[in-house]
Symmetry: C2
Subunit: 197 residues, 2 copies
């Protein structure tokens, strides 16, 4: 997600959302609040990626930025927010944009973190509806990792990870092709073994 910058430098350009922490706030609480103010959304999952503190990273003042990766499976249509315009776009478009400060590096770091989260956690399922098919899950992996995965092998790999998914017993037909079995998310927080890229 990006915002349109309201002030200089780069007024009107795109940037990563953010803001200043309050005196009585935790880092994660502040990240949640900023995202809520700029998108109106509550985030389920946040993860600290890193801290950026080069003396010249912001020409206006000495600042430190603590970068968080937020997982937001259900995006609203169009733009939202009150502080600034929240704009949803594919990451490669945002990477190609002219981002201010050290935001390009931040975005690169966050993308890498997101990709590796999919290997070790069942977080991809949160981008699917509560009841999903293995094909749904595979499409999330393919989008985030940016590469095609073999459906047959993916099928088995997911099912071999204990506690990743739980069969519902139902099947669903999604237009074309053989109807797929449906699953709900299991109860593990870490995938053993991980799904390697």
């Amino acid at each position: 997600m990006a915002i349109r910058r309201a002030g200089e430098p780069n007024r009107g350009g795109l940037a990563l959302p953010g803001g200043f922490i309050h005196l009585d706030e935790d880092l994660e609480t502040a990240a949640r609040r900023e995202l809520r103010e700029e998108t109106g959304l509550e985030v389920d999952y946040l993860e600290q990626v890193g801290t950026y503190g080069a003396p010249d990273r912001d020409p206006r003042a000495r600042t430190f930025a603590v970068l968080y990766l937020a997982v937001l499976p259900n995006l609203p249509e169009g733009s939202t927010g009150k502080d600034a315009d929240a704009i949803w776009m594919p990451v490669d478009e945002l990477l190609a944009a002219d981002l201010p400060f050290d935001h390009h590096q931040m975005l690169t770091d966050a993308i890498e973190r997101a990709r590796s989260k999919l290997e070790y956690t069942p977080i991809a399922a949160s981008f699917c509806r509560p009841v999903f098919t293995i094909g749904d899950l595979r499409r999330v992996y393919e989008i985030v990792w940016g590469k095609h995965l073999n459906p047959a092998n993916f099928q088995r790999k997911v099912q071999s990870v204990e506690g990743f998914v739980r069969e519902t017993g139902d099947v669903v037909s999604e237009g074309r092709g053989r109807p797929a079995k449906t699953y709900t998310l299991g109860d593990v927080t870490t995938l053993h073994p991980p799904l390697r890229r």
Copy 2:
């Protein structure tokens, strides 16, 4: 490494080294400087682990701590430093100590980071002399990971990682047992495949 605290809280107790960043300093530069001031040593390798900013983490004032992991292969004997007493000790002793603020959590996070560095990078070799044996290397892994490794399998595993180590052609006898071939560090920065724990 720990220091003896000069001030309250927990005066005279152990704590992780640290200090305040200067206005014109990068985060990593500040970490290097603090370590130099407290130990007199130059560090070769630093890695940011995370940032800690709970509002009550320091009762004296609102602070943020950016934690760095430093790799210091050549420790001097005894204590060093001018600001405070630098004390070298095994991490489990330090973990068992009564550390102030959120330093226990920091230490836990840093240890986990160090362990995983050994899987993906040739950093363990920096704890050996420039010319070392596979046995030397194995002992570093055994200490950091805290478990015994099969010498035969470790041997092959290290040699199968392209660019990890380079044979010198010499052998060295270290007291007991058959003399070992010696190696120097290769030129890779990442191990493919990684040495799994």
